[in-house]
Amino acid sequence: MLINYPFIAVFFIASVIFPFIPLIMGYLVAPKRPTEGKKSTYECGLEAIGDIWVQFRVQYYLYAIAFVVFDVEVVFLYPWAVSFGQIGVFALIAMSIFLLILVASLIYDWRKGALEWI
């Protein structure tokens, strides 16, 4: 099983190295004649105002946590699906209860209006 992974390792190493190649190429090849205007921070052509830190709205967090919850649900669905043949009807009931509990949270989410972007 582990013998298959050298190929993946090669791809992984290549994908780590690849982003640096244009940077190094740019460093070596590109002409550098900096002026005041070139060195200034560019932000949509306007002067940058204030700090880069912006306080996000809580809505983003709610979306992220809903994503985590249903991501975990899908991850649980996979081993259930591949072992379904060995368990049978009981697995269907157990997973139905699992999904019903999560659907309850989705309904609460929905009724509270957390799915809408206000």
């Binding site: 306080q55 975990v72 989410d109």
Partner: protein, 195 residues
């Protein structure tokens, strides 16, 4: 082969520990979160080395994919913590050191005393112990109750977040978006026409 696996293990462990040290070393909280993602990724690679492919995929999907986004949003939700007063987080570093040493001792002490960590109930070399099929059957048989409780835990996480978020919002005045305001005006006009 055995030696190669050892070398890869050391490389991955160095990556995990280095990233973990950078999490606490760096002053920028966002950079801490990014190093934490690197650490999570290394743990996924360790699972892969243990031939627990499903766990590795789950680690990358949940921790690298979802939890990291949650952490980043949670950081961005706070007020600006990076500027100025960053130093107050480092004053009680000895407390953090104590807690992490105690947690490390939880693993280290049984190892020194002579706890046998080897897996006894491995049926054969071919069948994985943490494969998807094995985990699926285990969830449906021995670990059915923890499995269902996990659903309740997820339910609590989501509803809890909503309750806390909306408590704050209820205090604020509600501002309608343009679309909502148009819909409201249309409804009022309809009501007017019916009268």
């Amino acid at each position: 082969m055995e030696l190669l696996i050892q070398i890869i293990f050391v490389l991955i462990s160095t990556l995990i520990l280095g990233a973990a040290v950078m999490v606490v070393r760096t002053r920028n909280v966002i950079h801490s979160a990014l190093w934490l993602i690197a650490s999570f990724f290394g743990i996924g690679a360790l699972y892969l080395l243990l031939e627990a492919e499903f766990l590795a995929i789950a680690q990358v999907l949940i921790y690298v994919g979802a939890i990291s986004v949650l952490i980043l949003f949670a950081i961005m939700l706070t007020h600006n913590v990076t500027s100025g007063e960053g130093h107050k987080f480092y004053q009680r570093w000895w407390l953090a050191l104590l807690v992490s040493l105690m947690l490390f001792a939880v693993i280290l002490v049984p190892t020194l005393v002579g706890q046998d960590w080897t897996i006894t109930a491995r049926p054969s070399e071919e069948s994985a112990i943490a494969g998807a099929v094995e985990m699926g059957t285990a969830f449906m048989r021995e670990y059915l109750l923890p499995f269902e409780i996990a659903a309740v835990l997820l339910l609590v996480a989501l509803t809890g977040a909503i309750v806390i978020a909306y408590e704050e919002r209820a205090q604020r005045r509600r501002i309608l978006t343009l679309a909502q305001e148009l819909a409201l005006r249309k409804q009022q006009q309809q009501n007017h026409a019916e009268e």
